[in-house]
């Protein structure tokens, strides 16, 4: 299942790249693309565990860039 989330206060381009890399490594994530310019994350992940995976994604992103919030 593919979904697009808005990212709030994503202030640094390198962080976006780092977050993308970390999220891509998560189990169940098929593909992810974070756009620094549009402040959006498009994620394609296992549908049956989507919410669970999103919890992980939020955790990973907070680790990389604590100021940035994923609007769910």
């Amino acid at each position: 299942m593919k979904k697009v989330f808005k990212l709030q206060d994503l202030d640094c381009a390198n962080c976006a790249a780092k977050m993308e890399r970390h999220v891509a490594k998560l189990d169940g994530v098929n593909s992810v693309s974070i756009s620094f310019m549009t402040q959006r994350m498009a994620i394609d992940a296992d549908e049956s565990r989507f919410d669970e995976i999103m919890d992980e994604v939020v955790k990973v992103c907070r680790k990389v860039e604590p100021d940035c919030r994923i609007v769910r």
Binding site: V4, D11, C12, A13, N14, A17, K18, E20, R21, S33, S35, F36, M37, T38, Q39, R40, A42, K63, V64, P66
Partner: protein
């Protein structure tokens, strides 16, 4: 881009930077111009006052950087730019303290302060530039309608556009946006479609005309029957596309993020080696540690990482101002290289408004037209419609119409059988007919196995086609035309327009095959574009490297299948897009080369101790600012 206001956070940050800069300037001036702060407290602790003052400025400008560094280390993010900046500046402070404590000449406090100060200036500028750039795209978002005035039970209710159902009637006052796609039931007005198509001339519409959401009603109230729900309407499709535009990343962007991934750790490692090895060998620890710290200042790849997507974003924004929607930066990147242009003929190179120009034999005009119109009356093909229009009367009913793909139509009914189509159809049915020698589409008509005559139908070439094709040829591109027309018509059009190649007599399904053949034959580095009007050619649009749909307003199949949409039905969008793509890629290359060159230069110079940390920080922030300014130049 105009009218961008800073956010509150940005304004506060700017004030902070200006105040700290002023404080720093005073400190620095006193330090250098007069005897310095050290003179105020005689003795060996003279450095303490300078240290204290600089430290105060340092903390004022850098407390958030320090805090983020600490927090990110706790999260295991070691090569974070905040952390690197802290190491570099704290290291400079430590060196200065060391020098002060050992009674050497005092220096270094100002540097530590300046590095952080300019780092913040750079950060602020980045935020400002991206905010401004984002704003230019969101100007496009202004086409989103806020509400719709729907007529329910005889009363006008204002609701969210998404609550309106197909078949309901809405009222649109002058000055309001059309909230949903529909057809005009009552009224006549002018519509401003500038935000959608880049076309500045208002369009006059009257009862029965289709209106697209996102256009602005200019002169008088319209009553519109809704034909599409909001999620399906033009405006929703366009917004969706624009919002997801940056999802498709270009090779340049991927290169730079990959580069950044290795660049920072590599620079840090070299810095460490630079501090330890020569330091141990020569024993001049403070010199080499200082040089290593200069390294850390340039280790942040942010200038690069930010300027590339910013450039693409500006390019996509510039294109959208011309009514050209680009679905991702990778398409802009590839379009710059595009050198094979495949055009659909009808509706793309030609207007697609066919007209019957001759009837053979002329004496049988009435009967031939009547028969043809009866056979073609249900078809939506432009040729069929031109026949019905030429007949001008109600065609005979009572026929069962069968479409013979690529040949024509067979109509059977009480009145007998009418065959209406090309020469292939006549031959296939074994009908003796006279081949008509004319430039144009020839439709042969036969009734009950007897040849009756033929209609010659011609399509008008768009006025800008020759200019666009000529321009592409001049750029060294190959231009190919695909058409279902016979070779005669196709060759005549191709010669008129100067196309380098033409494939004629194609069935609708053959177009995909032809494009696949061209794709297979193309060399490495070639990019194939298919340009079509989106009617019937969605599969080809998808198959091509870059699918370009024309006249995107109102055709959502085309918007979905293509990579670049020309909202205005004007081929000149192609050279415009090409120009924007070229400029974007030029800026991207400039930024990559320039930023890397400056960074490496600073690295080498500081390794040899030719520069100091001042130069390094100016270099680093300067590159970022210049790269961003260069990116923002991309507004064609």
């Amino acid at each position: 881009m105009d009218g961008y206001k800073m956010s509150r956070k940005q304004r506060r940050q700017l004030i902070r930077i200006v105040v700290c800069l002023a404080a720093f300037a005073v400190l620095f001036a006193v330090d250098r111009v007069t005897d310095g702060w050290a003179a105020m407290i005689p003795g060996r602790y003279g450095w303490l006052l300078a240290f204290g003052l600089y430290l105060a400025v340092y903390l004022a400008i850098g407390y958030d950087v320090l805090w983020r560094a600490v927090r990110n280390i706790a999260h295991g993010q070691v090569f974070d730019e905040n952390f690197l900046m802290c190491i570099a500046t704290l290291g400079a402070f430590a060196l200065a303290i060391y020098r002060g404590a050992t009674g050497l000449e005092i220096e270094g406090f100002d540097e530590a302060c300046a590095v952080l100060l300019f780092y913040q200036v750079g950060e602020w500028f980045q935020g400002y530039a991206t905010g401004k750039s984002r704003k230019s795209i969101s100007a496009l978002m202004n086409i989103r309608p806020d509400s719709a005035d729907v007529i329910r039970d005889g009363e006008v209710v204002t609701v969210d556009p998404s609550e309106v159902k197909v078949g309901e009637f809405i009222l649109i006052d002058p000055g309001e946006k059309v909230p949903l796609d529909g057809t005009i039931a009552e009224g006549a007005s002018s519509l401003d479609t500038k935000a959608l198509t880049g076309e500045s001339l208002p369009r006059d519409v009257a009862e029965g005309d289709a209106v697209v959401s996102g256009a602005v009603n200019l002169t008088s109230q319209l009553k519109v029957r809704v034909e599409k729900e909001f999620y399906d309407s033009t405006v929703a499709k366009i917004l969706d596309l624009v919002e997801n535009a940056a999802e498709q990343k270009s090779k340049a962007e991927n290169f730079i993020t990959k580069f950044a991934r290795y660049y920072t750790p590599a620079v840090v490692a070299v810095a460490l080696l630079l501090a330890v090895i020569p330091g141990a060998v020569t024993g001049e620890w403070s010199t080499w540690v200082y040089r290593a710290l200069s390294f850390l200042v340039v280790s942040c790849p942010c200038a690069l990482v930010i300027s590339i997507p910013l450039t693409f974003f500006a390019g996509i924004g510039a294109a959208s101002k011309h009514g050209i929607l680009v679905k991702g930066s990778n398409y802009l990147e590839r379009f710059d290289k595009a050198n094979i242009f495949v055009f659909d003929k009808t509706g793309t190179l030609t207007k697609g408004n066919f007209a019957v120009t001759a009837v053979v034999p002329e004496g049988g005009r009435e009967e031939i037209l009547r028969l043809a119109a009866s056979a073609e009356k249900d078809s939506t093909h432009p040729i069929a419609r031109s026949i019905v229009a030429a007949y001008g009367k109600e065609p005979d009913g009572g026929y069962t119409l069968t479409d013979v793909a690529g040949e024509g139509i067979a109509a059977t009914g009480e009145g007998g059988e009418i065959l209406c189509g090309n020469a292939k159809l006549m031959r296939a049915r074994g009908i003796a007919f006279e081949e008509v020698d004319a430039v144009g589409t020839v439709v042969y008509v036969a009734k009950d196995g007897v040849y009756k005559g033929a209609l010659v139908i011609e399509d008008e070439v768009k006025s800008e086609s020759a200019e666009v094709i000529g321009g592409l040829n001049a750029l060294g591109c190959r231009t190919v035309m695909l058409t279902g027309d016979n070779a005669r018509v196709a060759d005549s059009v191709a010669a008129k327009l100067g196309l380098s190649d033409v494939k004629s007599s194609l069935l609708p399904g053959d177009k995909v095959g032809e494009v696949e053949k061209l794709l297979a034959a193309k060399g490495k580095g070639d990019e194939l574009c298919f340009v079509g009007d989106g009617i019937n050619d969605a599969p080809v649009l998808m198959r091509a490297d870059i699918g370009i749909a024309m006249g995107g307003v109102g055709s959502d199949a085309a918007i979905e299948a293509s990579d670049i949409v020309l909202m205005k039905d004007d081929l000149r969008g192609i050279p415009t897009a090409k120009r924007i793509a070229r400029k974007t890629m030029a800026i991207v290359k400039q930024n990559i080369v320039f930023a890397l060159a400056v960074k490496f230069l600073i690295l080498i110079l500081s390794a040899f101790g030719i520069t100091n940390m001042w130069f390094a920080v100016f270099g680093d922030v300067g590159v970022a600012v210049l790269a961003i300014l260069n990116a923002m130049r991309n507004r064609a």
